[in-house]
Symmetry: C2
DNA sequence: TGGACACCCTGAAGTGGCTTCAGGGTCAAG
DNA sequence: CTTGACCCTGAAGCCACTTCAGGGTGTCCA
């Protein structure tokens, strides 16, 4: 299998696959006589692992850690559980932040109706103001 | 007022202020005899505008657009309203994504209890699998 | 007078996770 | 024998900063 096929199979741009190889997430692929990368099922499995992690918004460093366990099946997996817990906590935190933001934006949005002169736009006026001290 | 004071007043690192100047978001500051940047209230107002926008997670390009209206008080502000609507929609989309992610992560988390050998860890096993076709 | 220390300056490089670009080689079909 | 799809490399670009290296300035205290 060459790189384009692998990419299409897993929905990953070929540049990204090459990037993962440079970063050491994927082992260097063997090469055909014409210097094309050649992949087998093992590569596809590993790439799928990475892609799944990325779909869950993990950083490449987190993926690297998880791959270490993937590669050492006899190692205790406690750290894997912890890593996931931390990641879930991060996502929850970000959701909370974005909810707060959404509220602020909606309040800001109500400060104006379209069609005014910018000098009297309530949105722009609010953006100029000192932020209200959050109680 | 010099750059450190301005930064402390608005809670912005001095490097960020210099960066905004380089990017053209802030006008070039006048200089003291010792080549230190000198700021007045107008600068502080403009920087506060930028900081408020960034706190709402707007990109610097969005901020640039809004500053155009800030600088042209007679211009119609319809586009300001639209810009905000678009930004709110983006935030809402991201929240929805993260919620979906959170659910997936929690399901994944249940696949294992800590203390197993990685080879039998349900989390790692799930990460190796082909993603279920979303209905 | 001198030295410690906080502040300021510049330009360049690093961050993450790719993406894009420039400039080329390979290979099968028509 | 040319067209087009594919592959290769190394470097630069993206965003919004942050960090670093290497230096100047200004004030306080001894």
């Amino acid at each position: 299998m060459q790189i384009g096929q692998l990419g299409r199979a897993l929905g990953v741009p070929v540049e990204t696959i090459r990037y993962y190889e440079r970063e050491g997430l994927l082992p260097r692929a063997e090469r055909s006589t014409s210097n094309y990368r050649v992949y087998g099922e093992a590569h596809a499995d590993r790439l799928r692992f990475i892609v799944n992690c990325r779909a869950l918004d993990m950083t490449l460093d987190e993926v690297r850690s998880l791959l270490d366990y993937h590669d050492a099946p006899s190692k205790d997996c406690t750290r894997v559980n912890e890593l996931l817990d931390e990641h879930i906590a991060q996502v929850a935190t970000r959701i909370a932040e974005l909810h707060r933001l959404e509220g602020q934006l909606q309040r800001l949005r109500k400060a104006c109706r379209r069609g005014k002169a910018s000098g009297h736009c309530g949105i722009l006026r609010s953006l100029r103001q000192r932020p209200a001290a959050p109680k």
